[in-house]
Amino acid sequence: MARAHSPRRMLITTIAAWGVALLIFFPVLWMILTSFKTEASAVASPPQLFTADWTTENYAEVWARSDYPRFFWNSVVISVGSTLLGLALAIPAAWSMAFVPGRRTKDLLMWMLSTKMMPAVAVMVPLYLVFQKTGLFDTRIGLVLALMLMNLPIIVWMLYTYFKEIPGEILEAARMDGASLWNEIVHVLTPMAVPGIASTLLLNVILAWNEAFWTITLTTVRAAPLSAFIASFSAPQGLFYAKLSAASAMAIAPILILGWFSQKQLVRGLTFGAVK
């Protein structure tokens, strides 16, 4: 039975929730505000949230100095491509682990997850050489493969958790009705798991979009995505903060909008199985 909440408690909870939300959002807000400041007001001491001399000059300069559409398109291809390829491999894998588990399935899942614990830099030189020798360096297909492999454990885990919630009897009934394995996965399992697959897809698009280590290390010009676009405006001395903020805002805007419109699916997918 649901407990009744007093108005006072509701008010406190609401204020606390807004406080936490603002705290989390504050760095993004700061970055967006900085992108509209002059370089001088961006580094003013003490820092100022607002300024008297707002400007859109940084956006104009960033746009003029670099080929934003090319970086953007590379990000779209790499993040969507790696996620779709990952899903194509992970759905059958998660199906087998959820519905026909073997003795070592749990160990296999743990091993897959453990590969995420290795620091990326540990395999930088070998992967760099492989990419060079195979002609995958600075290609979108190379990055699609790299990011797909990197995120595959997460995709499999998310789908496995989701599939485990689907009663196996439904698939069994489909099988008794003569459904082939292909039909069972494509026409029975997948439609039931659409919310889970959608949230997995969205989360992995975001992860791939934001990935910066491999996308900068394994590209130079042709396949460089928005992470490299941001890096091109960064300076170690901390100069050009306003332009860096404008470039960052342009890089995260598409994924922020996507996240905003798909937040229901994201939250549902991420909290699935948390409450029984």
Binding site: E39, A40, V43, A44, S45, R65, M124, V125, Y128, L129, Q132, F137, D138, I216, T217, T220, V221, A224, A228, A231, S232, F233, S234, A235, P236, Q237, G238, L239, F240
Partner: protein, 436 residues
């Protein structure tokens, strides 16, 4: 004209166009994000007009990311870059490994003898010029002449550390948030250790003796660190252990620093439109202790060709264009003399127009007073003024920088910091095989 003749002519034109397209060479240039490099990208129309058969693709990255990427590429012979922007730290190390192409055969009109001797010396290994300087810098004292006048003091053009302390004491008024001196305190081999290593040279200190034995247990290093901590604790701004180049620039521009000893390129910022004290800034050489070495560094961002590049001729053509005298004249004609990349050529400092730039002479004098091949009072087995040109230095410099930064933050004493640095560096150098 017959149809056949037209077809032949059309075919010839198409072949000629295809031939031209085939003849075009595309080179990839890796560079850092700073004002001079970005300005060069805006002047490429001049390069293309002179070299229509070469196309340039840019990879602009933050300095540390660039260093990681080009190091990986050059160490694995990747050949992804045809021209690399590298610093004076990399050139001696990579040159010795034969990872770079010698630029000794640049055309005669390039006038290699016009390069400033100190800068050229830092980019030459065994007689081979392995990189062409795009811009060079040293460090110097930038100070508030109005505050010095108010205190009844005059800053010598070549001050000693005693002069600096006297001026710092006179200009400090903590109640008004006015601090006599601002220096780098943020940990890092290119942050506080660039300053402290250069400063230690003027105290007769050195990182290693001729047998690669660390020297932090010697009195010269103690004098260096004691002086630095005393200056910063008594006359420096609060929280100085977090201050790097940018933080100090902001402090100085907003009138909180009486003096700032840092890169010569900062001179254009502290006298620029964003500075509230632009009209009151004057310059002096970095201080010394009368031992024959000043506490200034030497750095140059330079263009080099990795040995793995397949397009070395086109790369040389680009480097010739980007670093010769005509390029300086091009920048001056389009952007003014104050925006010309400084610190590379003698002829620039002989130009009467450039001599009108207020910090030009002091920049030249600072660069000339640093010698990367003999950086210290006592002999050393390494090259480099504010660094030691060995691959291990990035890690060592940052580790020692963290220890000294902790001492500045009051977390440990100078003696403890020096003992810790001595112990760690000795262990690392032994493990790396330098100390037998």
């Amino acid at each position: 004209m017959t149809l056949t003749l037209r077809a032949l002519l059309g075919g010839s034109v198409a072949l000629a166009l295809a031939g031209a397209a085939l003849a075009e060479t595309t080179i990839t240039v890796a560079t850092v994000n700073n004002g001079d490099m970005i300005r060069m990208q805006g002047l490429m129309d001049d390069f293309y007009a002179k070299n229509p058969d070469i196309k340039v693709e840019w990879v602009t990255l933050e300095e540390n990311v660039l260093r990681q990427n080009v190091t990986t590429d050059i160490a694995t012979g990747g050949g992804q870059y045809d021209v690399m922007t590298i610093g004076t730290y990399e050139v001696p190390i990579w040159g010795k490994q034969n990872w770079l192409v010698s630029l000794n055969d640049l055309p005669a009109d390039y006038d290699v003898d016009d390069l400033l001797p100190a800068i050229r010396g830092g980019l030459t290994v065994d007689g081979n010029l392995f990189a062409a300087p795009f811009y060079g810098e040293s460090s110097m004292v930038m100070y508030r002449k109005d505050l010095m006048d108010a205190a009844g003091l005059t800053m010598p053009d070549a001050p000693t550390w005693a002069d600096i302390e006297k001026a710092a004491a006179a200009m400090t008024d903590k109640a008004k948030e006015q601090y006599g001196i601002c220096l780098r305190g943020k940990a890092g081999w290119g942050e506080n250790m660039a300053f402290l290593t250069a400063m230690s040279n003027s105290f007769g200190a050195r990182w290693f003796d001729e047998a690669w034995v660390p020297q932090f247990d010697q009195p010269e290093w103690k004098a260096t660190l004691d002086t630095y901590l005393h200056l910063m604790n008594e006359y420096g701004p609060p929280g100085a252990s977090n201050n790097g180049f940018n933080e100090n620039l902001t402090l100085f521009q907003q009138g909180h620093c009486g003096m700032w000893i840092d890169a010569t390129v900062a001179a254009s910022f502290v006298t620029g439109k964003d500075s509230t004290v632009a009209d009151h800034v004057a310059f002096a050489l970095a201080p010394d202790n009368g031992l024959g070495k000043r506490g200034n560094w030497l750095w140059a961002w330079s263009l080099a060709i990795p040995a793995s590049s397949q397009k070395q001729e086109a790369a040389k053509t680009f480097i010739d264009w980007a670093t010769d005298k005509d390029y300086l004249a091009l920048v001056a004609s389009r952007e003014g003399w104050a925006n010309v990349p400084p610190g590379t050529r003698t002829s620039l400092y002989e130009n009467p127009e450039y001599q009108k730039v207020p910090f030009a002479k002091m920049t030249l004098d600072s660069i000339n007073s640093a010698d990367p091949n003999a950086p210290t009072v006592k002999p050393v087995p390494y090259v480099g003024v504010q660094f030691v040109a060995i691959p291990e230095f990035q890690g060592l410099g940052t580790t020692v920088g963290e220890i000294f930064s902790a001492a500045l933050a009051g977390q440990k004493s100078a003696d403890d910091a020096l003992a810790e640095a001595q112990s760690i560096v000795t262990d690392e150098m032994t493990a790396a095989g330098y100390i037998q």
